[in-house]
Symmetry: C2
Amino acid sequence: MLFERVAVIGVGLIGGSFALALKAAGACAHVVGTGRNPANVKLALERGIIDSIAADAVAAAHGADLVLVAAPVAQFPKIFKDISSVLNPKTVVTDGGSTKRDVIAAAKSGLGRKIAQFVPAHPIAGAEKSGASAASAELFRGKRVILTPLAENTDSSVRKVEAAWSACGARISRMAAEAHDALLAAVSHLPHLLAYALVHEIAARENSAELFAFAASGFRDFTRIASSHPEMWRDICVANRDHLLQELKAYERELGSIRKLLEAGDAAGLEKLFAEARAARDKWIPSS
Amino acid sequence: MLFERVAVIGVGLIGGSFALALKAAGACAHVVGTGRNPANVKLALERGIIDSIAADAVAAAHGADLVLVAAPVAQFPKIFKDISSVLNPKTVVTDGGSTKRDVIAAAKSGLGRKIAQFVPAHPIAGAEKSGASAASAELFRGKRVILTPLAENTDSSVRKVEAAWSACGARISRMAAEAHDALLAAVSHLPHLLAYALVHEIAARENSAELFAFAASGFRDFTRIASSHPEMWRDICVANRDHLLQELKAYERELGSIRKLLEAGDAAGLEKLFAEARAARDKWIPSS
């Protein structure tokens, strides 16, 4: 048994799946959950995702030896501030936020001297579904979790948090928060923005009904991530604005180059670009 | 039995699936196939996709009462010219090209007075896989096929071609070639270009291996169509260049608006845009 009492603050897709996975692994005795949506927290209890409901983050964290903060990132500053006073010296805290620099800033401000107990994590296992109803013990299996440990962390704290995510079946990597945010801007945050942009642009047209009627599986898969949670993605975009803007500009430059190939009717140039992209993707796919 | 002898010129994903679907429906007695890749045509024979191999398009079309031209579109001018002299007066010809104005121009030039026998079609049922090995009798089931009949077509020719695609399980629509090309530029051709662009841009970076290592399911689905056939998409882009450029520019404007929201840190504006996109997509998905 790794943990006696686990507190999950925000029992959505990530928080709920974390609880289910730890239970399935026999890694915890009791999970207490809390969240801002009472119906969702009640559903989590009914589904056996959590064993009890706490009124708020403070009540949840009280007496817990592991705390997962998995609420929308905009709520993190208040949550860290609230739970700071009730954390035992041996309690470790981790999170499920998709950006790390802003989460760390919120934790430093809210936790104060207890910042050493917080080991930031990003499970790369989102889905366009959200809420306790979408939670699954298998969500993290074989998926990557990036830890961005702090200089203040003890080895023991990092090991405990790593053990929790490992128990969920995840593959653990470690890197600096800055490197994490730069990396994710390129391979996750930008694609989300691009998918939202395409659907938004099409939906605004007079003939959007006809356009959607003839959109097929390519469009469906390309835009799957445009069904992601708007509030979550707002927070990610704002928190990682600098890296995301850099990625967006690089992409706009790439589109400009392709537009020039098109304008010039450069068939060979287009084919070369498409072939290079396909080769790179096909090389990646077997290992993904 | 709708057809005695069906000729499939280009036994790839589309041509092979058309043959398999007609056979499964009991709609044809004999399928003769031809293509530029001998190994692929041989595989088609071995898999029972075709019943015999013809040396070239002329030999295949000879005596056929239905001809499907499903080669890469760049080969269409030569194919139409070649088969023109052997088409019986009652033979109907259709195609599987993703663009229609260029195909019609090639057919008018190649078929001459026999243009009335050609009923253009676009089965919207691609996949990133290609070749006879990927062919399936189920590829077109429930999928849309757009016919863009010509002023020269007789009702009887259009009905025969419609019956063939219907036998494959497809849902048939009719529209003008110009409207088809404009529609597909928005919902198919542009997304392919955008997916190729993202993979190409990432693959060209020094740290591309690390970037791909942390790319997850969102990236995988967004870029699925970047594994499409480069030669085919080169031809589509060149053939539909005017509409595609218009779509690309509209998308670049949309990205410019989003960039401004990001630069301004306009969280509410970003959330509104994301929410509108998600609502439009979620409304579409149940019917797609």
